[in-house]
């Protein structure tokens, strides 16, 4: 086993990895920015080193500092977590050159999956289906696009090559209307990005985001740990994940799992990774991308399989063979994760900073929390707003939902706003309960205000408590005034002295 592992990350995922180190009996090293001196990951590690100022580019993204610290403290491996440097080929390369094991895939696999066009080409060669389209095929003329369109099928999207944010995007439902829409899209893209190039992509209607967890060792053994349903997103940020997906059955799981394994093998993948798919209404699935790292939502897979993914990552990196074969993997019950973010769901999900003054943590059967915060912790504006992951397990999906509801009810975080009310409203929605949602559900068909006629709507209780609090404050203020009146003895003497000398 490794002697000492450096965790090149912060927050809940650093704590998660440190726990795995501890449970494996490996010494652990934390790194921290000036804003994170009091963070849990610093407190839980065996050693801790300051990286630099709060902004990530001056601290958690400093490859040179990280390698220097790892060398100085004698760490023989680095775990990158997710985000920051986790999918940076140059970081994996720098570790390799410093003779420190990077707990993740080889630099070549990161590179192959990091470029979307290369990734599409690679997995297509391995027989993996991709979203039909012309992305990565260079600049095509209108005539070329019009010729390709019927092969992709309608409806389809025209998208700007340079773009994003919907600029230069057009929905096309037939070949007839396409020439005019192509012109409009190119004009808009030219105006917005100075680049009129566009490409075509099949519109996946009612798409669901389904991803498969992969484990692969250095000896060519690759298995999958089933799927995670991640369609509940807002601005491309996942908010809730569940495993298994409510719409994936055994047959589809087997087929998608086989394809996921094939995609990983196509880049000779090693360690833990995730293959993301889009699944359409007709249960066709398309490769979207591969995340060559540990995923935020890995705990739901741990809950249903009983496998500790982080420990497996470390064992694989050490050169061990996989502990499990595909046949060993059993899926037991259902797990859901809610990402608790410091943001205000009643105010456009604006991030919230400040000091956490009180936490009541839901506990009890089937509840797991991964977090890096505690009462007294200061949520700063420097890093992402994820402050906790609330994960529940139930014998069935129904039990898991009921358990998540009661866990959310128990969860109190005072001092910053959180999106807990969003999750509560979501868990109560009939569409979620029925498993009927797609990637556009949260943004297009969900509202925090739609639940006003159920039994949880109790404005009179809100009115009462606000009145009682106001009343108490008024009474307390009155007492202070009275106390001050009594507590003036010194001033009486002073007043007397002044009167005498007037």
């Amino acid at each position: 086993m490794f002697k000492k592992i450096l965790v090149a990350n912060r927050g809940e995922i650093a704590v998660r990895i440190l726990r795995a180190c501890r449970e494996l009996g490996v010494e652990s090293v934390a790194v921290f920015s000036e804003a994170d001196r009091q963070s849990l990951h610093v407190r839980y590690a065996d050693e801790a080193y300051l990286l630099g100022p709060a902004p990530a580019r001056d601290s958690y993204l400093r490859i040179d500092r990280l390698i220097d610290i790892a060398r100085a403290c004698g760490a023989d491996a680095i775990h990158p977590g997710y985000g920051f440097l986790a999918e940076r080929e140059d970081f994996a390369q720098a570790c390799e050159e410093a003779n420190i094991t990077f707990i993740g895939p080889r630099p070549s696999a990161i590179a192959a999956m990091g470029d979307k066009a290369v990734a599409r080409a690679t997995v297509t060669k391995a027989g993996v289906p991709i979203v039909p389209g012309t992305e990565g095929e260079g600049s095509l003329t209108d005539d070329e696009l019009l010729a390709l369109a019927p092969k992709i099928g309608f409806p389809l999207l025209i998208k700007a090559t340079a773009g994003g944010g919907g600029k230069g995007m057009r929905l096309v439902t037939s070949l007839e209307e396409m020439p005019a829409l192509l012109q409009a899209a190119r004009r808009e893209a030219e105006a917005a990005f100075g680049d009129g190039n566009v490409y075509l992509e099949k519109l996946i209607e009612g798409a669901r985001h389904i991803e498969f967890q992969i484990l692969a060792d250095q000896y060519g053994n690759v298995i999958h740990l089933g799927e995670r349903e991640c369609s509940l997103q807002r601005r491309h940020q996942k908010l809730v994940e569940e495993s298994p997906s409510p719409i994936v059955d055994d047959d589809l799981r087997r087929r998608m799992g086989d394809v996921a394994v094939k995609a990983a093998q196509a880049v000779k993948y090693v360690n833990a990774g995730t293959i993301e798919f889009l699944l359409d209404k007709d249960r066709n699935f398309y490769f979207l991308e591969m995340n060559t790292r540990l995923q935020v939502e890995h705990p739901i897979t741990e809950m249903v399989t009983g496998i500790d993914i982080v420990m497996e990552q470390i064992r694989i990196a050490r050169g061990r063979q996989l502990t499990y074969t595909q046949d060993d993997i059993r899926f037991n019950g259902a797990a859901i994760e809610c990402r608790i973010n410091a943001e205000d769901p009643y105010n456009d999900f604006i991030p919230s900073t400040g000091k956490i003054v009180h936490i009541t943590t839901p506990t009890g059967p089937g509840v797991r929390i991964d977090t890096g915060v505690y009462p007294g912790f200061e949520v700063t504006p420097y890093y992402d707003p994820l402050i906790a992951k609330l994960i529940v397990w139930g014998e069935t999906r129904g039990q898991a939902i009921l358990r998540m509801r009661r866990a959310l009810e128990e969860f109190r975080i005072i001092g910053v706003r959180t999106n807990i009310p969003f999750h509560q409203t979501l868990m109560d929605s009939h569409r979620f309960m029925g498993g009927q949602y797609d990637t556009r559900f949260v943004e297009e068909r969900f509202s925090m205000q739609n639940a006003e006629n159920d039994k949880a709507f109790r404005p009179e209780i809100a009115a009462l408590i606000a009145t009682l609090i106001t009343h108490r404050q008024i009474e307390r203020a009155a007492q202070i005034v009275q106390r001050n009146e009594r507590d003036t003895s010194n001033w009486k003497w002073v007043g007397r002295w002044e009167r005498m000398h007037r």
Binding site: T353, P421, T467, T470
Partner: protein, 167 residues
């Protein structure tokens, strides 16, 4: 006996505090027991033995934001005297005056898609502030004219800095 008027979502509740353990809401007497939990803004309230756990945040201006059973309520509480004064002053107080857009958190001003003197709609984006790796659109709470912009794109601002005003 002190009488308050609490307003939630434009509905008014008349609440009389009889004593520490009794209130009258509308015409009904309720037995209550209020306990403050761990000296924070968390309360346990029993109302005729129904148990509610509640936490609060200060809301805009004089209001209190109350969370109960997973819902947020914006509550304004007035006593009878305040209420009379406000009635005499007319009800247009809230809508008028200059609105100052303040930074809800520390961050970096990324973009200001409006100009001084420009008319804006309710809900229109006034400024984009980057914080916690997210770009946050700050919107106008009402229609009006942008009267003064006090920051520039690229500027770092502290929490509660006034960014611009709408008149």
């Amino acid at each position: 006996m002190i009488k308050y008027i609490a307003t939630v979502a434009e509905k008014e509740y008349e609440i009389e505090i009889v004593d520490e353990h009794h209130v009258i809401i509308g015409n009904r007497l309720y037995e209550i027991d209020l306990a403050s939990v761990s000296e924070q803004a968390v309360y346990s309230l029993l109302v005729d033995n129904q148990s509610y756990e509640i936490y609060t945040y200060p809301g805009d201006s004089e209001n209190l934001q109350v969370f109960v059973l997973g819902r947020m309520y914006d509550v304004r509480v007035e006593d009878e005297r305040e209420r009379r004064l406000r009635a005499q002053a007319g009800s247009t107080v809230a809508a008028g005056g200059e609105y100052h857009l303040k930074a809800p958190m520390p961050g970096l001003v990324v973009n200001i898609p409006v100009q001084e003197g420009q008319m804006v709609e309710k809900g229109q984006v006034l400024l984009i502030l980057e914080s916690m790796k997210m770009q946050n659109e700050l919107k106008s709470p009402r229609a009006g004219k942008v009267s003064r912009i006090r920051v520039k794109p690229g500027e770092s601002v502290e929490q509660r800095t006034t960014l611009l005003s709408v008149i």
